[in-house]
């Protein structure tokens, strides 16, 4: 399969008054054409920073990509000039943000916001742009798109607005769509609808999707592959089935166990004890050591190398190291 995106050894740091935050510490990722990759992890694990890095939308000058490369269709986006990057944004790579209530400018009409990207990047006529906007609104399931174009964001509900945001992201027919927690701010029934919409759009347009989320339900529904992030690193990646049925990293296991299930016997949740590592001074070894029930001495001192469990399934954990003692489960 053709790889549309390859992230190699990405390091992103933020300078703050309190010191330097090492938000992303050596992320390796790839995305195949037409697939959906979910990046999961808790708040502060670096998943949003990773996705913003792809768009080169890290807030500067505080944030900086200090090392690594992001190859999109063979081109390293880290080295790309600002001007070239502007031509890529919205055209080749689009992004959807978390909160549809704030992602739209309250003072401009929906039609204006939908078409402005198109007008910026191609010399379409106003009539054609409008036509395209109507077509996009129809694609995302907004009824009566002709009259809706003249309306302002506050005249739409949250779910509708997210649909508009999605339409906006897709209007230039990008190859890659990055959705940063697209359903977090929506209520559950709308979440399901939006996720269905993502699938539908992917079927129709063949767009590759990176879905950043902390909602494993969302992941199970739409993702082909999953990358689990913790403490600025990707600690486990694999096909959806690998992650959900054969999780190997204690953190992934803990994450899956902390999701409430209808068939759960106990009436209490199983949270992962402890707090995420301090990324001002990230631990030398595996970032999960402090919270890990299986931690060994080596875990605290040296970060484990990647273990390849199958073609698709990789994990960074000492338990999977060839030298670790096997115990029959």
């Amino acid at each position: 399969m053709e790889k549309i995106l390859e992230i190699d050894d990405l390091h992103v740091h933020f300078s703050t008054y309190g010191g330097t935050v090492q938000a992303v510490r050596g992320v390796n990722l790839y995305l195949n054409k037409g697939e959906t990759l979910a990046i999961v992890g808790e708040s502060g694990s670096g998943k949003s920073v990773t996705s913003n890095s792809i768009m080169q939308l890290i807030p500067s000058p505080s944030g900086k990509i200090v090392r690594g490369s992001i190859r999109f269709k063979g081109k390293d986006l880290v080295q790309t000039s600002k001007k070239e990057m502007r031509a890529i944004r919205g055209v080749d790579i689009s992004m959807i943000f978390q909160d549809p209530m704030t992602a739209l400018n309250p003072t401009l009409t929906v039609g204006d916001q939908l078409t402005e990207g198109l007008k910026q990047h191609s010399s379409v006529s106003i009539g054609k742009a409008k036509k395209k906007a109507i077509e996009m609104l129809r694609l995302v399931g907004i009824t009566n798109p002709e009259s809706r174009l003249k309306q302002y964001p506050h005249q739409f509900s949250g779910g509708m607005r997210q649909r508009i945001v999605i339409a906006m992201a897709l209007i230039c027919e990008p190859d890659l769509l990055i959705a940063d927690e697209p359903t977090t701010a929506l209520d559950v029934t709308i979440q399901a609808q939006i996720m269905e919409l993502f699938k539908e759009i992917q079927d129709k347009t063949g767009v590759s999707i990176i879905l950043v989320t902390h909602d494993l339900g969302v992941v199970a529904r739409v993702a082909d592959r999953v990358a689990v992030m913790y403490g600025g690193k990707i600690i486990e990646t694999g096909d959806k089935d690998d992650i959900f049925y054969r999780p190997q990293h204690p953190y992934t296991i803990g994450l899956l166990q902390s999701v409430p299930r209808l068939d759960m016997k106990e009436d209490i949740l199983q949270p992962i004890d402890g707090t995420p590592p301090d990324l001002f001074a990230p631990p030398q070894g595996c970032p999960f050591t402090a919270r890990c029930a299986h931690a060994m001495q080596v875990c605290a001192n040296v970060h484990p190398a990647t273990s390849y469990l199958s073609d698709s399934h990789q994990v960074e954990c000492w338990l999977q190291d060839a030298r670790a003692k096997r115990q029959p489960v």
Binding site: A87, R89, V91, M95, F97, D99, N105, P106, E116, G117
Partner: protein
């Protein structure tokens, strides 16, 4: 919309009526009358004749009635101090000059204030930001009459670049406008900067960047319009401040605008002129506030002028 305008108009009239009444009460509660301040002593008979001529010997309530009638007919009668001129003459002569000064001031304050504020916000914590904000603090803290006298001393007296007073050519206009516009410019700059900084962190700015729009387009189309809301909000107050500022500035620069008549009329107890200018000023200010509301609703579609009637 029409209903809104009508309702708004009725409220304006009511406000002016209240102001007119309060002015009447205040004016007559100041001891003395137009003739007590005169140097030359007048005989009692003359005094009585004068009082009768200006209805000053009538009961208050009758005078109030006369005043309301003159207000309703827009005819404030002749000035007591300068009987050859009517109050309307003074207004017609003075207002265009004051309006010219005021409009230039507000235009320049808006343009330079917004520009400074935007630049400061874009170069947040940079050198431009520090310079702009230092200037803004200075601008806010120096009263316009101090600035006016300083300007006159430096530019007119020492350097002899500009004429020191009066209002006859563009050169004459420079100093009064600078003196009057500095304060508002500083206020607008600070306000624009802070609201711009806030707007620039909004998600829709991120969305706009993610669309690949040019920085200029992001700032002008997406950020500025939202950032200007607070500026428009204080515009009403600012117009009032500039208006009162014109009294002082017109006096310092000997500009024959309305402010001059306004201040003189109070000193002279020139009742018709006080009444005329006060009501005129209030009507003007009320109208400006109304305009601000209209502009507000144009800038922000979420604000509707008419309460009823949905989206």
């Amino acid at each position: 919309m029409a209903i809104y305008l009508i309702r708004r108009f009725v409220i304006m009239i009511a406000t002016i009526f209240v102001i007119a009444t309060l002015t009447f009460i205040l004016m007559h509660s100041i001891p003395g009358n137009p003739f007590t301040t005169q140097d030359r002593s007048t005989s009692e008979a003359v005094q009585e004749n004068l009082n009768a001529h200006y209805h000053l010997d009538e009961p208050m309530i009758v005078q109030y009635g006369i005043w309301l009638k003159s207000l309703a007919t827009f005819d404030f009668g002749p000035s007591i101090k300068q009987p050859t001129e009517t109050v309307n003459d003074l207004l017609v002569r003075g207002f265009p000059i004051s309006a010219e000064l005021g409009m230039w001031t507000i235009t320049i304050a808006l343009i330079s204030g917004i520009t400074l504020g935007v630049l400061a916000a874009l170069k947040h914590n940079g050198i431009i930001d520090y310079i702009a904000m230092t200037l803004a603090v200075l601008g806010i803290s120096i009263p316009n009459f101090i600035l006016a006298t300083l300007l006159i001393q430096q530019l007119a007296v020492n350097l002899q670049l500009l004429p020191a007073a009066t209002w006859s050519s563009p050169m004459h206009m420079i100093m009064p406008i600078i003196a009057l516009a500095t304060g508002p410019t500083a206020i607008i700059a600070r306000l624009t900067r802070s609201s711009m900084l806030e707007v620039l962190t909004q998600d829709y700015i991120k969305t706009a960047r993610a669309k690949g729009l040019s920085p200029a387009k992001i700032v002008i189309k997406h950020a500025l319009r939202n950032a200007l809301m607070p500026v428009v909000t204080i515009l009403g107050t600012l117009v009032a401040a500039i208006l009162t500022g014109t009294f002082v500035i017109e006096r310092i620069f000997a500009i024959p605008g309305m402010g001059k008549y306004f201040v003189e009329s109070i000193n002279n107890r020139d009742y018709p002129v006080i009444m005329g200018t006060t009501v005129f000023y209030s009507a003007f200010l009320i109208f400006m506030l109304f305009l601000v509301d209209i502009v507000y609703s144009i800038l922000d579609p979420r604000i509707k002028l008419h309460k009823k009637g949905g989206s």
